[in-house]
Symmetry: C3
Subunit: 632 residues, 3 copies
């Protein structure tokens, strides 16, 4: 019976069987009996491969480097990472290696060589997942001596002479001047706060090492297993590594979608956490689908879809009935090529034993199994057109997240919160969103939003200059140079070419300190962050003390404040109308998403509501009443 | 005058003079002048012994190993423990030694030999308190190299070959396989969470070492001071060491009762903390009396009774007038053989200078002195019958606390909270409770409750099978094997022999997410934890979505949810009535406890209330109005 | 134009140009080209000096030792401090040196020699700021081996023989006895809490080292730059070093006034933090002005006045319009000789790039610039008389802060909170306050308050005995000996000579536990701390349970409870009236301060209010309506 389902998944839903290889490197080198033991594992893998052949499945093979074996750490203790507290991390857990470790590079090459030698040309193999959730558990950075040496080397390439580095970091402040690159320390365990510019360079260097390690694996696999595609499973609300940069060397972006697990990590009030505890926030999966579709240049998968309660959040509720079906359709509506569920069967042991699967530990199908089966049947009856462009473009920048993490200036300022509040507004307005990195072509979009872009590089400015639609730029944009300094012309720096104004002061406000603003769209109480602007442009919105909040020249607008959801809604609605995008106002739990001529409608709320479909529309799935949780 | 009181205590109240020896080992080995100095201390001790002779006191001698002297740590730095952060702890404070340290064993033998040589046959000596609050300040576990070696040795004995260990821990997950036992690491400082099975083994090993150290002392004392009894002072809400296991080698269990100090450690809402700030929660001392009476196989003492404000809680209020008298009577009502007060006199110096005593720092009697004097007088007029069996048995398991500490799965799941909520309900119902470890004989009890027992060993199952009364089993019971894995037959595992049902899913809920349940006893709003059950048994209580909460076969019931106090009260009242136990509903601050034909009634509340005594009853102490704080 | 302002500042406002030298030591010793590079920096300094000459400015030179250069730490790693966690701190940040380090003393001598050789007799130089915010970032204490050695040496001098030390510390408790001074450990990383007496000695020793380092610099400068005065910039709400002790070797005390930055550090309810977010609490700057005027024996400066949003608080709001003018006048009203603003221009780089200045990063004057200009103009028209004595004296003791930090006994007990609540009450009563260390002459004051003085030395008792006015002594005064033990005669110890009573018990209360008190001034709900007193004096105020709260003999009063603001207001008003001080009741945001015949009135509130000035008074600045923010 399960065979049928599996084939059904494989043939109809386009489900790919992903065989995680975690923890399989260890046995490899056992002295004396290594090959036979390893052969056992190979055999297990071959089971998967054979299944692939028999059931018509295609196999994506994960590389096993996230979990170096014990003996390797014993033999080369320096592969173990150093933490921010100055300690060498222990074996145990996972991701216990340092990106900069030469012996670990060597061992990586060795295991990939063996892997590709055996499976590189296996007929069931179609692609590789390189590594696994790179940077998870705060493992992007390392503070070991080898990392420090590599950091110095990278700085040498970046800066050339030491004087250039001292100038870039302005080490004259607090007497931080280095006499040569061999003196540079990693920015941790300092008595007072470290200089923000080296901190930003530390993030950049870590990204560089992460990318290099990914490339290293891709090149090895490419050479020995030709014709396979490469992907990686990124995470939710995670910016320690820039996914756009990493994906340059990948064919497809993938992400791991845990809508309930992510609830506890979002800065929502407790009552909203409770409200969405069993459904996930209606925009959280959608946001990441759009983000990683952008990261994958149009191609993305959900590599791990939550199928039930998980084990790693502070609270792990069971999804409401139908949610796995809804989440799957939401992914498809956003253009996912594949939705894969983690895990096939709930493992009854070790760290993740409380992580549900499609099947229970007793090998019986679990709730999600039947929901996925239903999607597979629905899919078989519904031809899915390719995903087109959205009407709205959002510019997203991991570097912005770093800048504000390093110098938030106000405890409530959080880049992802700001971005997510922009994104959510468009969901409530019924408008689809495409997400781009700074510098990407923004042509053809009726409305472009830049929630905040502190460092504006030349290509980003050019892309914004050449945008066709309205462009809304958020607070603190252009507020820093590439060296994390205040630009000489003051913020918004290079953006002054488009927006002739100067931000002469910024302030952060404590929770509860709200100021009244008034304008054509109503009255708003604003907090968190406020700027003072000098400009000849008349403000479109003012505080009651007269300070301007919103400025416009031509199709460019600048928002000099942290927006409340109400302000953002009113403003974006107005801009969307001006841009001819026909925004609507969806009730709280309802969401729309288009894919070609199809309109998908999702009901995350607890009530049955009427579908706001125009008369005469044809319902392919569901009907004109939106039942929780899904109609389309 | 004080001499009289002391004799009064000794003769009438049965008060034993406990001479703590803390801090007396230090001078022992001073090169050159050791013996004379030490003699001084012996002299001080002898004062106590003489007093014993003169006043008819019997002396319980504490062994002084909780505070190794500075020179010992200097000479053998490895006796100092390693903390979880990977650091060697400093001298200073107390309990600064590692259970696994061979030189500390040696020195322990030496000091005990000297102690027993001098006092082993002293006529005033009747017993020993072995060590002091073993494991206090988080000192059960250690992370030093010697401990690691001992852990490996213990694993060798437990598992035999390395393959057995790898299988028991399922090290295949995240590639944690060890090639031999010399590779096993202590589970700390890992980048991601450690495997829960080694963590559980770490707890077990720590218990093993603690027991071994206790045994080591008992054996030495036994050989050199024949005929003395052995006791140990356990703590409140403390499970790092299993007291049942430790007490196997003791004659009498004792505990240190700090009803006010414990308030801040209990997970009570702030308003309840304020309500009971001066009285202690009405069930907290009672619960521990019952627990340690079970631990001591019927024999227990209160070794340290709080006599006034203490120094170590975040807030240290003064007990309400009469509370020391009430606490003493509560202990006696629960079967305490001795109630000893800590301390005799408030020490005006060092860490505990703000810890009140029976006497003030200026040698004047403090408030508690007179309250104890009154109890002594009351006791002299009242023959106390032996304590009999209670109508309700509660099964308590330290291992359960470990399992849920290692994998709570929901931030609010706490074993002691659950146990205490069961216990409290019976106090409100006016029913006495006996507490047993899993596997103890439950014959003769009308009602047995098992708040939660994740690992059900053969003897535990057998004892439950042979119970005479109704048996109520709580959530997550039988949910794990001995290796902390999900049992192949799913939870409640071995308990399926008694309760034919399968728990196919569990979920944890965030605070504020409550689900409505309905049944014969009313409507309840339930949160924290919910299970889904597959069974042919009809549920006795359901959620409004149809899910079953309570199942029954014969006299066995299974509760598939974290119970609210209201549900627990309704359910236990109903079961108690069915069992013929005549529960009543006591007002908030009132409690009853029986000892033979005597009924003790305690009023923890602020108001005078009428005694709910049947007409014609004789009042031995107090009258038919319950004044705060005590009547009987 | 800026030249004019600067001269205006210099001539009219008495503004001194302070040239911070931070971070200028680094380049000094570059092998080979040291002098020329350093010369560059000298050149920059000389710019300042020349400016001084040209504009008539006088220069206060800061010594640059807060930021040792990288090469120095590399060559002598032991200058880097050890933190409480047992780690060596990294270079980066600032204040990365240990007070006890001999090589750092050497280098200090060297750089000061070079500095004074070049600038010691420069005509523009008038004084030195020795170091900078000594102890900032928790850097008073160090836990490196050299510090430990120095601590042992200091203990040897203090105690002589080891037996004296053991007795002073009562090491018999928990067997902490040391056999010789070479055994003494620093009190950190202990498993259980460390003995409080060594902890207090650790604070004292740290003060001693801090003083010694300050003296060391003063002596070097004195010898090589004769005739200059010495100052140091202290901080707000900071007690790790006793400013009275440090200032013995200084001519003028200075402090860094950040009224908004300090808001987040004060234990205020969130709504009050919001209320004062843009103005600062109306008493916070005033309190420190009075404190540091006392520290400076009448002479104090504001060395760094906040001119706009800063960068280092969790939230950094912009001051309300006019606040920089108000803060400046408040400082002058309290007797400040100089108000200097930090910084001249906002630096666009490094850690403090978001710290506003008088000038913006683009060299344009910022808001504060014009406010300061206005003050300068106002000042030029207003002769300022010398500051006289206040009617109320407050006794302030850093050692008290240490004692209660070491053993708070109740989580809410905080010395600064208590002192500040006393101080605030007098501000609301319209009464000026002088602040003294214990032992200072209190003659001539109508009312003396001692919020709490746990350790009462002979000179403190004498000063209180010889006070002329009413003396109100707060809770826990006299509760400890110099060795942090309970005095044999019980608290208030030596104060019993003035107040014949014994405190026989103290308790701390959890938040929400309030007890009703009643007396001639009304009813009060009191929490946090309560004492029980034995005395023949009749209580002037009682709890409803009969316990006394306030006792009086002659002109001495003892308050046996943590006072609520309401109680404190009623009590101090009554005492002030009795003392003939004519207290008034000022509305919430209004404050008064006298300087000679001038009365300054400040409005921190948002509303315009009428000036409570007597008829016929002459308004020198402002008028009879108090506009926010300032009138006088």
């Amino acid at each position: 019976k399960r065979g049928t389902i599996l084939r059904c998944f494989a043939k109809r839903l386009g489900l790919w069987l992903f065989l995680p290889l975690y923890g399989r490197l260890g046995e490899f080198a056992r002295s004396g009996r290594g090959s036979s033991l390893f052969g056992l594992r190979w055999g297990w893998l071959e089971g998967g491969g054979d299944l692939g052949k028999k059931e018509g499945l295609a196999v994506v093979l994960g590389t096993p480097t996230a979990t170096p074996p014990k003996w390797l750490g014993d033999r080369s203790p320096k592969i173990l990472p150093g933490d921010r507290e100055g300690r060498r991390r222990n074996f145990g857990g996972r991701r216990h290696y340092c990106f900069s470790s030469p012996p670990y590079r060597e061992k990586t090459a060795r295991i990939l060589a063996l892997l590709t030698k055996r499976y590189g040309r296996h007929p069931a193999g179609v692609g590789f997942q390189v590594e696994k959730e790179l940077g998870c558990h705060g493992t992007v950075g390392c503070y070991c001596p080898n990392w420090r040496g590599a950091f110095r080397g990278w700085l040498r390439v970046k800066n050339g002479k030491i004087d250039a580095l001292n100038a870039a970091w302005e080490t004259v402040f607090w007497n931080q001047t280095n006499r040569d690159l061999g003196e540079v320390e990693l920015p941790h365990l300092t008595g007072a706060e470290a200089n923000p510019t080296p901190l930003l360079d530390y993030y950049r260097f870590a990204l560089n090492l992460g990318r290099a390690y990914n490339c290293f694996q891709v090149n090895l696999l490419w050479n020995n297993a030709p014709g396979r595609f490469f992907t990686h499973n990124f995470m939710g609300f995670f910016n320690d590594l820039d996914p756009f940069a990493l994906a340059k060397d990948l064919d497809i972006a993938a992400w791991d979608s845990y809508p309930l697990g992510l609830i506890d990590q979002m800065p929502l009030p407790q009552e909203e956490k409770v409200q969405w505890a069993r459904t996930g926030h209606p925009d959280v999966a959608a946001f990441h689908h759009d983000l990683y579709r952008g990261v994958g240049r149009g191609r993305f998968w959900v590599m791990e879809q939550q199928p039930g309660p998980v084990n790693w959040a502070p609270h792990n509720p069971s999804p409401a009935p139908g949610m796995v079906r809804l989440w799957t359709w939401e992914a498809i509506a956003h253009g996912a090529e594949v939705v894969s569920y983690f895990r096939w069967r709930q493992a009854p042991f070790a760290q993740e034993q409380m992580h549900a699967g499609l099947n229970r530990p007793d090998f019986q199908p679990d709730v999600a199994f039947f929901e996925v089966q239903r999607v597979a049947e629905e899919l078989s009856a519904l031809p899915i057109p390719p995903a087109g462009c959205a009407p709205v473009a959002l510019v997203y920048d991991s570097e912005a997240a770093w800048v504000f993490e390093i110098q938030p200036q106000g405890a409530e300022w959080n880049y992802l919160t700001l971005v997510f509040s922009f994104y959510s507004v468009f969901r409530r307005l019924g408008l689809d969103v495409d997400i781009f990195k700074p510098g990407a072509d923004l042509g053809g979009y009726g409305l472009v939003v830049v929630p905040s872009l502190p460092i504006v590089r030349k290509e980003a400015l050019e892309a914004l200059s050449q945008a066709d639609g309205l462009v809304l730029v958020g607070p603190r944009s252009g507020s820093k140079t590439e060296n994390l300094q205040i630009p000489p012309e003051l913020p918004p720096g290079a953006l002054q070419a488009l927006l002739p104004l100067k931000v002469v002061r910024g302030e952060s406000l404590p929770p509860g300190l709200l100021e009244e603003a008034e304008g054509p769209w109503g009255r708003f109480a604003l907090g968190v962050w406020r700027e003072w602007v000098e400009t000849d442009l008349p403000p479109l919105l003012r505080f009651t003390d007269g300070g301007g909040i919103l400025f416009r020249r031509g199709r460019y607008l600048y928002l000099a404040d942290w927006p409340s959801p109400e302000l953002l809604f009113a403003l974006c609605q107005s801009l969307a109308e001006e841009a001819g995008l026909h925004p609507r106002f969806l009730p709280e739990g309802l969401r729309l998403r288009r894919r070609g001529p199809l309109v998908f409608a999702f009901n995350y709320g607890p009530e049955v509501v009427e579908a706001p479909a125009p008369p005469g529309v044809r319902f392919l799935l569901g009907n004109d009443l939106w039942f929780p949780k899904l109609s389309s």
